[in-house]
């Protein structure tokens, strides 16, 4: 059973690494969102693995997973709102062109 836990947590680590690379390397806002989604998915996998293999009698862990799903949905809704506003005002969602945010 410990091997199953290791596999699940390693998958979480893999998703985290890939998501981090994606969020940092992409110039398009929608692609950056995809990277952040993968990072949150990594957290989700870890929480479910901890629940399953360490504390299956604790429903609060599933509650925690639900909260991560909420964060994923909220992050996407807000980011798409920003993307629409940006596209309307500048005609692009390329972050290389958003240098005015630097202040």
């Amino acid at each position: 059973m410990i091997l199953e836990l290791m596999i699940a947590l390693s998958v979480g680590a893999g998703l985290f690494g890939v998501g981090l690379y994606g969020a940092l390397s992409q110039t398009n806002l929608v692609m950056i969102i995809m990277g952040v989604e993968l990072i949150l998915a990594a957290a989700l996998v870890n929480v479910v693995a901890f629940w399953r293999y360490l504390r299956p009698d604790e429903p609060a862990a599933q509650m925690f997973a639900l909260i991560i799903m909420v964060v994923m949905a909220v992050e996407m809704a807000v980011a798409f709102g920003v993307a629409i506003a940006r596209f309307r005002s500048r005609g692009s969602v390329e972050m290389e062109e958003a240098r005015e945010l630097k202040g």
């Binding site: 293999y53 799903m69 809704a77 596209f87």
Partner: protein, 171 residues
């Protein structure tokens, strides 16, 4: 080697592989579909780990979310099909290093601690749903209500940011 281990490893590798494909393909629509497959594989992993409710929720939620994302891709990308060979990456070397270090650090956290005793059985799907329902309506009620309010606020905020102000509002 148990069946659970085999399926967990298979769908885990699929989830990570499709995660990599998201950033390897030049077609943005393919990227959205790869992310959908990755999230679906994660949902199946939850089913393998006997978290039926979360597994089904993950698959349903992500199918919808990624479909919306694919529509946004086509709407907002200059080259959604990836036909123009546009380069949409920057600081690639730095990102690879940071991603690699993040991966190694996370793997170290997985491998180094002593995880102690591991549970061999879980409550039935029905018992899990009942426990989660009780949890939501008792100890975690405030957190759950806050999550609902946060989603509502995000929806209103996203709509307000996205709508075009009329001439009167622009003054």
């Amino acid at each position: 080697m148990t069946a659970q281990m085999v399926f967990l490893a298979f769908f885990g590798v699929a989830a990570v592989w499709f995660g990599i494909v998201v950033f390897r393909t030049r077609s943005m629509v393919r990227s959205a579909l790869a992310l959908l497959f990755s999230q679906t594989a994660i949902g199946v992993m939850f089913l393998v780990m006997q978290a039926e409710f979360l597994g089904v929720l993950q698959i349903m939620m992500m199918a919808t979310e990624m479909s919306v994302m694919a529509i946004f891709m086509v709407m907002f990308m200059m080259d959604p099909g990836g036909m123009g060979e546009m380069n949409m990456t920057h600081q690639k070397r730095l990102s690879l290093w940071v991603g690699g270090i993040g991966l190694l650090a996370a793997l170290a956290v997985v491998l180094l601690p002593d995880w102690g005793l591991v549970a061999t059985s879980v409550p039935s799907a029905q018992a899990q749903a009942e426990d989660l329902g009780r949890e939501l309506l008792s100890r975690s009620m405030l957190i759950f209500q806050s999550a609902g309010l946060t989603i509502l606020t995000a929806m209103v905020a996203a709509t307000m940011v996205a709508i075009v102000p009329n001439a009167e509002q622009r003054k």
